[in-house]
């Protein structure tokens, strides 16, 4: 077990009496691909933020390798333990493709860009000149660059077409199964969720495991 959520509760500062997450507990292991699903406003992105150390819970804790992430600091946790991929890619607009990957900590961004199939002629281009799918792959390459053992992704295929979504899913699966990372994806996409080794659903602030979706009938 590399990452653990233990009795996590969370409320917004403006509505302290209303818990978004209610004593959520979960355990995540390396080499596995997890999908967290739930309706809009269910608290799944908040859950991911707490795992990433972007915010602190009002109660409970997040443990990395059995140690509370607050002990070494959230900055340290974000820098060394996890890497993040967002729906809107979140690349830095004044840097090139290669420099964005280097930002993650890699000294050899070329090999990572190769892994995510970005052609070398695009490495020196400004990152905003790439297509949406390419930008998301650059974001994944940047996440790989940190050599963190946990990859957290928030709607990584939200803005992409079907073909590109499929490529990104393959890439995420590859990272979990071939590179041994713990991949946790928050998604609305049933297709993406069904590719995961384990699906978790957040409903009214509570977390539970669930079966794979039956794509022709069910809806999230």
């Amino acid at each position: 077990m590399i990452l653990q959520a233990k009795d996590l509760s969370y409320a917004y500062k403006t509505k302290k009496d209303r818990l978004v997450l209610k004593q959520v507990s979960a355990e995540f292991e390396e080499g596995r691909f997890y999908a967290v699903v739930g309706s809009s406003g269910s608290g799944k992105t908040t859950f991911l933020s707490l795992l990433a150390g972007l915010d602190s819970p009002v109660d409970g804790m997040v443990k990395y390798m059995d140690e509370d992430i607050q002990r070494k600091g959230l900055n340290y946790h974000r820098k060394h333990h996890i890497s993040l991929v967002f729906q809107n890619y979140n690349l830095i607009d004044y840097l090139t493709t290669e420099e964005n990957v280097r930002l993650g900590g890699s000294k050899n961004p070329g090999s990572l860009l190769d892994k995510v199939s970005i052609p070398c002629e695009d490495w020196k281009r400004n990152v905003l000149q790439l297509s949406g799918g390419q930008q998301q792959r650059v974001a994944i390459a940047r996440a790989l660059a940190s050599e963190a053992r946990v990859l957290l992704a928030d709607e990584p295929t939200g803005n992409l077409d079907e073909d590109t979504t499929q490529k990104i899913i393959e890439l995420l699966k590859k990272m979990a199964h071939e590179h041994g990372k713990c991949v946790i994806v928050v998604t609305h996409s049933k297709t993406l969720a069904n590719e995961a080794d384990e699906i978790m659903e957040i409903d009214r602030g509570m977390l539970k495991k669930r079966e794979k979706f039956k794509l022709d009938k069910e809806a999230i």
Binding site: S49, L54, Q87, N88, Y94, E99
Partner: protein
């Protein structure tokens, strides 16, 4: 990628943003340098007094020292009534209460003749003159010049006598303003003589050789008579000693040195002495010989043709205050402008800040990156301003001096007609303004801009850095 690399990429690849900040910092730096240079600007002026001095020295009483002497003499007399060296103190009963009345007389204000003689005896001094203070007396059986539109209630109703040992060395004559129209000037050997204005002569039908009489302001007797030996004319009206028609230019009558005290029935009041240097080439050595004399120099101001050797007042000491105010306004304004720029800058970089935070880069390092970028641009801007500063500082100092001149003129225009005078002031002509940008100024400017950048970026970053990374990332999506 380290902080410096990121900062450099941001500066280079966001040219519009960088150029805008560069221009703003450059302008701020120039304003700072101009303000500092103006504070120490050297204003070369030319007034009629200095112009009149030529190759000579003018000796006057030091006003500051006179106040000090009053205090000293008062202390010496203590609680007793009495007089000492022209200072008097007396107890008087006013409205049932005992009050002290203190005053000084001509003895107190008069330049000592032995001191004049000492300077006159210095090797290299070829001639000298003594001039009295304008002495108010009443005209006997002749009419003075009056402005018919002005209320004369508060005026003395007299004329002003200006005694000279040697009139050709009087400041008004030396400046070229006063010249003889008929007759001749007062010479050292003359006694009971006068030179009147052409206006006064015309009004009273007086001519050279006539005799006119004067008596003290408060008494009709005795009448002292002086023979008219000359009639003078002026290029510009002489500056009045005080407002009122007694001191108006046309009513100034030049006399021999001792006639004013005779007409006023008082002790003499020698206001200034002028010493002419025989050979202009010896000017500096004569000056040194004068300074070496055993005189109580605290009593006097000695003015040479470059200005006062001791304590001549600066004509434009206000410039320093104006420049200082300007510096504070620039500093305050710059802080607000830079704060708004950085606020806009940081808000527009929400996305970047969110990404960096998600990568585990601390808020302080992100702020440091922004400050570093500002410094990179700031250093270039300051370098540009250093190159341009000498020209702009000169222009700013000249402009400030010009504004002061204009302001002075406006103030003069505003009070024109409110006092009973038609006289023109002594014209102070600015012959040049020299503003120098020194190494110290460049250092202060650099440090000031640096401090402003740090303060304004820190203040601007508070808004965003108060938020946690999750909030920032939520705003992004």
């Amino acid at each position: 990628m380290n902080l410096l690399q990121r900062a450099w990429c941001s500066v280079i690849r966001k040219p519009v943003r960088s150029i805008l900040l560069l221009l703003v910092i450059c302008i701020i730096s120039l304003l700072f340098l101009s303000g500092m240079a103006s504070q120490t600007a050297n204003i070369a002026t030319k007034d009629s007094t200095r112009q009149a001095i030529g190759a000579g020295f003018l000796m006057t009483k030091n006003a500051e020292n006179e106040s000090k002497r009053v205090e000293e003499l008062s202390l010496k007399l203590g609680d007793k009534e009495g007089s000492l060296e022209g200072y008097h103190q007396k107890k008087e009963l006013i409205d049932g209460q005992t009050m002290w009345r203190t005053w000084t007389d001509n003895v107190f204000h008069c330049i000592k003749t032995e001191d004049i003689d000492k300077i006159a005896g210095v090797e290299g001094i070829s001639d000298y003159n003594i001039t009295t203070a304008p002495t108010r007396v009443k005209a006997s059986e002749f009419e003075r010049i009056e402005d018919p539109d002005v209320d004369q209630t508060n005026d003395f109703g007299g004329v002003a006598l200006l005694g000279n040992r040697d009139m050709k060395l009087d400041a008004n004559v030396l400046s070229g303003n006063v010249s003889i129209k008929e007759g001749h000037m007062v010479a050292p050997s003359d006694k009971d003589v006068c030179v009147i204005s052409e206006e006064l002569a015309e009004k009273n039908g007086l001519k050279v050789g006539d005799t006119i009489g004067f008596h003290p302001i408060k008494e009709e007797e005795p009448v002292s008579e002086a023979k008219i030996i000359g009639i003078y004319q002026v290029k510009e009206k002489m500056t009045p000693y005080m407002s009122g028609d007694t001191y108006r230019s046309e009513n100034v009558i030049f006399t021999d040195l001792h006639f004013p005290e005779k007409a006023e029935q008082d002790t003499p009041l020698f206001e200034c002495a002028y010493f002419k240097v025989g050979n202009v080439d010896d000017y500096e050595s004569v000056k040194e010989r004068i300074k070496a004399l055993d005189l109580d120099w605290e009593l006097y101001d000695l003015i040479d043709n470059n200005g006062n050797l001791n304590t001549m007042a600066e004509n434009f000491n206000n410039l320093e205050n104006i420049s200082e105010t300007m510096l504070w306004i620039v500093a305050g304004g710059s802080f607000v402008i830079l704060f708004l720029i950085f606020l806009f800058w940081i808000r527009n970089r929400n996305n970047e800040i969110g990404v960096l935070l998600s990568l585990g880069i601390s808020k302080s390092k992100i702020l440091l990156q922004i400050v570093t970028e500002a410094f990179m641009i700031g250093i270039i801007a300051i370098c540009i301003s250093f190159v341009v500063a000498p020209a702009t500082s000169q222009a700013a100092a000249t402009y400030l001096v010009g504004q002061q001149e204009e302001q002075a003129q406006l103030e003069k225009d505003a009070v024109e007609g409110q006092v009973s005078t038609e006289y023109k002031d002594v014209k102070l002509t600015i012959t040049g303004v020299q503003a120098e940008v020194t190494k110290d100024m460049l250092i202060v400017d650099g440090l000031g801009i640096g401090a402003l950048i740090i303060l304004s970026t820190s203040a601007a970053s508070i808004l965003i850095f108060r938020k946690n990374p999750k909030n920032i990332l939520s705003e992004m999506s």
